[in-house]
Amino acid sequence: MSTQIRLIIPAMTCAGCARKVRAALEPLAGVSEIAIDTAAKTVDLNIDGEDPTAVMMALEQAGYPAEADSGTAPEACRMNDPLPSDHLPVDGMRLAITGATCASCVRSIETALSSVPGVEQASMNLADHSAYVQGAAKPEQLIAAIEAVGYGASVAADDDSLEQERERSEQKLYRRLIRDTWLALGLGAPLMAWMLFGGSMMVHAGGISQLVWLLVGLLTLAVLLVAGGHFFVGAWKAAVHHNANMDTLIAIGTGTAWLYSMVAVLAPGLLPEQARHVYFEASVMIVGFINMGLALELRARGRSGQAIKRLLGLRATTARRVEDDGSEEDVDIALVMTGMRLRVRPGEKIAVDGVVESGSTLVDESMLTGEPMPLSKQAGDMLSAGTINQQGSLVYRATRVGKDTALAQIIALVKKAQGSRPPIGRLADQVSAVFVPVVMLVAIGAALVWFNVGPEPRASYAMVALTTVLIIACPCALGLATPMSVMVGVGKAAESGILIRQGAALQTASELTTIVLDKTGTVTQGKPSVTELFGYADWSRDRVLALAAALENASEHPLAFAVLEAAKERSLAALDVSDFIAENGKGVQANYQGGVARIGNLRWLADLGIDADAATADVAGITEQAGTPLFLTMDKTLIGVIGVRDQIKPDARSAVARMHARGLKVVMITGDVRSTAEAIAKQAGIEEVIAEVLPADKALHVRGLRDKGERVAMVGDGINDAPALAEADVGFAIGTGTDVAIESAGITLMGGSLHGVVDAIAVSSATVRNIRQNLVGAFLYNVLGIPVAAGLLYPLTGMMFSPVIAGLAMSLSSVTVVSNANRLRFFQARPAKEVV
């Protein structure tokens, strides 16, 4: 039985909080019909049963305790605030500590750190042997303080060193696998050659062959233990844990072949004469081939992770610190702290996120955002780590360092997304989870069938069937099919400034039918500018603009900014006006040279009885182009009209054309009046417009489209459009720059171009196609390979698969999957001819 409850959440102050509250509640079992009212700070929901404890605890965990009478008003938060659980310190430094073993060590270390001048707060975590220090102290001082009390310290490892460590470990593993391959094939190949060139593999009791095969058997055992020991250890450990994995199949397969052969050698009397065959060559050849396959797979997988490597490569290793006395020195990037002043010279990478203090330059951010044009940076502008200073020398103050930089967050996000799994791989997951025991049952079943109804030598055939089935079955290909493609696809997208958050978004993006585009900031530039300027009654256009700028100087309206910007561009001298009066919803008036100057809308002019007929044709031209006319009057005379328009992005039309070419329906949604919206839509080539929509109702319209059976993408700025983005099958946050912490969107486009949407869809479709190919290949391989290995073709052809061939096929099957996934690295989301 479900119960409806209402909870009051005092800390929920904005749409961002509401999103976090919803994120905390939705995963809970038994919770449904969540309705959040941010203004009233309440959430209504249905729960199974009557006990809301789990709900209350989940909310508390999320940082939003639900208590009816919680008093103090919480601090305001913004939509893109991180969730409390993933909130990272915004300044300070993490140190790796060695030698600490107990609580008293923790106290000593914390005391030592706190005594360093400049340290505001120091805390140590014994669990991961790290200390976190906030304040202005230098790392060298902190390390010295810890060493002085008898412990060791270093700046904690960052992603770079972890990546290098991973590469080192994988290199070591690769070398070991190659060595094992040669060792196993070194024994297996001569034995195979002996067999292929007609040598007998039979044991003759009492003969010299028995002794020779005994020696070969012991040699094989040694090779199996050295080159294949890891399979046996893995199989044993897994078995003890009631698990079975690839090692289990290989260990049982090769072990059975060796044991059978040793029985034939040591006790040939137990087997019929025709069945006294040895399979030592199969055991070692299988081990050799599978080691080779693992080595090739390791190599190929290294290439799959190149996107992350490229992002890591963007990080600077040093920064140039500017001291208070003006001197400069190069310091290791790990030693850079927030608040430090840093210099970046032409051609250098920006070391950490920061704010420009002095200097101006052009900065290439294409490596992060995909935007090809360098951006101008001056005092007060934000800089992002990993971008490149192209021209001038800058001094900037570090605001985010280490794991808090936008680049580090992008790397973390891409890594996380690379490990996520789209629903398409669910069947393979279910199959691979039970695959190994099922294969073992099939292998024993096949062996029994051969033993009971097969031709002589039955024991040999049974043993071959058992071994071949075990060896040919490849759970790896199934297990790798989805994650390898996701890894490469997500990485490929990241290279173009497209951050795909989850595997599910990747899959859904490939199935879309409708794209809903928000107008302002998505189709248009989101920043009105003056596009037309007319003067009447002998007023020049420059004078009209100068007076308009003087009147709008104190206004914060976006249209006023456009006027001021235009006057600034033309370097017009400021006019002297006084006694401002703002008429809400109408305009602004002030005294100028003894008269009353006004700037406002047509309705105001009509109210004042001012004749605007002289501008009728010009105004019609402005409104036809979706512009807004501003009327300028002096006393009762119209002296000018200024057309202000939020222009569409230069490449919006070509991007919309690409959407149409993919068979997608494109809809524009906006709060603007219909005539303006339709004019913009026409310019962009969009056929359907939903106009005059309140911001809160955009999500309803998206839901309406979904209810009609459409698979809908919503493209917006990620902040004002968050509810609609969350409502869509896939939300695209566009033009976020390096602010990537937008969680309402499944896909974040750091660049502002609508082409990014189409690119994301193209990459997603290619990735899902690649996953399908891998899955079909892996399923077909196993579905066909296992019955053939079991001897299904024997009645028709009289042939049986050799276990050695099975080993080769198995080792190549997973390499094939990884190689196919790697093909995605060469995928071009936007062929050159499409770029407009």
């Binding site: 995963p27 450990k237 693992l294 691979s432 989870a433 049952l441 024993i444 079943g445 297990g479 994650p483």
Partner: protein, 120 residues
């Protein structure tokens, strides 16, 4: 007689596989009353692979991956949206949210490493 023995052995092995890998219910699980559990990733297994944790409290999996094999690189917890890349030879904390009672499988990307988290 040999036929009977071989068939009996084969059938016994099949029954053993069914029992050992599917029907067997472990009785002694690692307990996480403190809210943190250390998991070692080595030789194709998670140790421990069966973890009991009380409902209504968050849980930290402190994972130490000793296995350089790429198979071990990711740890995925079904139903919680957790997929974490594991560094080699370093402890890595995976914070799990408050969970409803039930069983949550955790495994590697290829489902070869497997474990179960029982929330009670």
């Amino acid at each position: 007689m040999t036929n009977v023995l071989v068939n009996a052995a084969g059938l016994a092995a099949m029954m053993m596989i069914v029992w050992w890998f599917w029907l067997w219910k472990p009785s002694n699980a690692a307990n996480t009353k403190a809210g943190v559990i250390d998991i070692r990733v080595a030789n194709g297994t998670y140790s421990p692979a069966l973890i009991d944790s009380p409902a209504g409290q968050p849980l930290t999996l402190r994972v130490l991956r000793e296995d350089a094999s790429p198979c071990a690189e990711y740890l995925i917890v079904d139903g919680l949206g957790v997929n974490e890349a594991l560094p080699i030879d370093r402890r890595h904390d995976i914070e799990l949210p408050v969970m409803q009672p039930g069983e949550y499988r955790f495994h590697c990307q290829m489902n070869m490493y497997q474990g179960v988290l029982r929330i009670r």
